[in-house]
Amino acid sequence: MIRHDIILETQALQKRFAGRKPFFGEAKVVRAVDGINLKVRRGETLAIVGESGCGKSTLARLLVRLMPPSDGTVVYEGRNIANIAPEEMRHLRRDLQFIFQDPFSSLNPRMTIGALIEEPLRVHKFGTKQDRRVKVAEMLARVGLPASVIDRYPHEFSGGQRQRIGIARALITGPKVVIGDEPVSALDVSIQAQVINILQDLKDDLGLTLVIIAHDLAVVRHMADRVAVMYLGEIVEQGPVADLFANPKHPYTAALIAAIPVAEIGARHAATKLEGDPPNPIDLPTGCRFHPRCQHATQICQTNRPALDGTGPDRWAACHHANTLSLQGYIGSGHSRSPTTQARFDLYRAASAVLPPQDQKTTT
């Protein structure tokens, strides 16, 4: 058994939100995160995927204690931060940072870019004013923004540039763990690629551990080392990214993979189209929460809740039939580009790599 160096770990982590109290009876409870055990390894990129309402954003916030859990523990470097005092948490915040999906709503519109990026340093009483300025300039260069932006305001920037600012702000304190909640999903494809590259470069240069919350499986396939798939507050499958995409063990993972629209002509589609909507997280199904939508469900799935069990090396799945089902993983079209077309793509790759990583222009 390989022992991994765990930097962040949750045990039986729960977050419940009270629903509206009806006139009669008890208020219903939403179990947004329902008993999650997750280990984040030092230096890895772990992706948490799932559809709207599966609890992935709540989990992200619990991991860095942007909200307190209802139950369970979050252990960072051996310390339980679930019930830590606010003062101590503020101190730890240097190590645990968060990148939001919408960079605009997370940046104070009345502060200049320089002040915004410097703010975390001031909060943590880092160095002198001069030291901080040097640090801000260094950070701007790392995220590919010109030094001239420090006196400008967030509204002057495009979405991609704002996300670079959000990243600079998150990384300026030199964190160990960075959680990104859909950090690139609001961006256009060409801008998304720029930001993904920046995140990966920074991770490599600074030795970060990244936890990425995402719904775009192509982004996950590209960025992650390991993947945890969530469904209605639970992790239903977990494993190394390539293995999980090639051989999903949980029918939900297989359905997610089958549903990706592939940008290739003649991409084959597995017949595992998922029917119906995810159930209401207030009235959770009995047994396996996925069983009402699962074409492989049997009697036991309706009554017994499956545990997240090992199915292979570093692989876990919460499915009663994980070891007997043979599910279809990702299949491309098997269609390759003509030599002429491939040459054109190669030309583009070579030529675009020569240009500076981004131009110095800013938009209105």
Binding site: A255, P261, V262, L274, P278, T341, R344, Y348, T363
Partner: protein, 330 residues
């Protein structure tokens, strides 16, 4: 094929009042009966403005059509009086928007909303319109349609609401449906369901569709023809196979290159450097020139002409296409 196209757009240009250059510039395309044209491009490329202009829904002022024609069943959609446009919309032209919650009336039961769309354009009685609404809910495969007729939009999930939007758009069996990012707000498993539904309904009814999207995956699944737009100009157009197998424009190639692949490979992503030009200050030459790794002085100054690429309807607007010829010459 000698039949005239269902929709023939020629030279469509749209401008913001008080700016020097057209935002959407000289856009031309045709659409045949029953076909799907995907207009693909990133934020600000003018794809939604194009759809709004065709539906007569452009916010004038400050936006206004400055040129071009859009022939649809003998009418020019760009100059049709509002009253006649209203007759076409919802009848011959159906519309599906990205966010169904903002296009559905929250205070009306969905059955009534579908029936309203029918009664506005036909002589059907209230009872017949309700029966038709039920039939439409069945066709968009909403479970338990009899009971769903009397629910409100907020009672439905996002995917179900989009099905209701589709039911309204198709209620009068239109010749053309304009769908602007119809699945962008939906989860991927729900998107797959809705796309499949749209394909099946289109096959059954022979409706032509203009599908506006930023997602090349959706394009590959849905399109017969593709128009790639950048900063208000169509940079490349052609049959879907030509666009994916033989892309010619550096922007099309860049867009495809910058998508993370599902086959793995942890290479750095290829990017398109820079950002789109601001809408109020479009450059004069090729609008992609500032971000194009192949651009030279000519590109920055002279707008490229559109040339045929191959022997199909595949056309590209680039001085440098195909790229490999440039390399040979250099």
């Amino acid at each position: 094929m000698t039949e005239a196209p269902l929709l023939d757009v020629a030279g469509l240009s749209i401008r913001i009042d008080g700016t020097a250059r057209d935002l959407v510039s000289d856009l031309s395309f045709t659409l045949n009966k029953g076909e799907t044209l995907c207009i693909v491009g990133e934020s600000g490329c003018g794809k939604s403005l194009t759809a709004l202009a065709l539906m007569g829904l452009l916010a004038t002022p400050p936006l206004r059509v400055t040129g071009g024609t859009a022939r649809f069943r003998g009418d020019d959609l760009l100059t049709l009086p509002p009253a006649q446009m209203r007759k076409l919309r919802g009848d011959r032209i159906g519309m599906i928007f990205q966010e169904p919650m903002t296009s559905l009336n929250p205070a009306l039961k969905i059955g009534d909303q579908i029936a309203e769309a029918v009664r506005r354009h036909t002589e059907l009685s209230e009872a017949d319109a309700r029966a038709h609404a039920l039939e439409m809910l069945r066709r968009v495969r909403i479970p338990a349609p009899e009971t769903r007729l009397d629910v409100y939009p907020h009672n439905l999930s996002g995917g179900m609401r989009q099905r209701v939007m589709i039911a309204i758009a198709l209620a009068n069996t239109p010749d053309l449906v304009l769908a602007d990012e119809p699945t962008t707000a939906l989860d991927v498993t729900i998107q797959a369901q809705v796309l499949e539904l749209m394909r099946n309904l289109q096959r059954d009814t022979g409706t032509a569709m203009i599908l506006i999207t930023h997602d090349l995956g959706v394009v590959a699944e849905m399109a017969d023809h593709v128009a790639v737009m950048y900063a208000g100009q169509m940079v490349e157009t052609g049959p879907v196979a030509a666009i994916f197998d033989d892309p010619q424009h550096p922007y099309t190639i860049g867009l495809m290159s910058s998508m993370p692949g599902l086959d793995g490979g942890s290479d750095r992503l290829v990017t398109i450097p820079g950002v789109v030009p601001p809408a109020r200050d479009m450059p004069g030459g090729c609008r992609f020139a500032a971000r194009c790794p192949f651009a030279d002085a000519q590109c920055a100054q002279v707008p490229p002409t559109t040339s045929a690429a191959g022997n199909t309807s595949h056309r590209v607007a680039c001085w440098k296409a195909p790229l490999e010829q440039q390399e040979d010459a250099a």
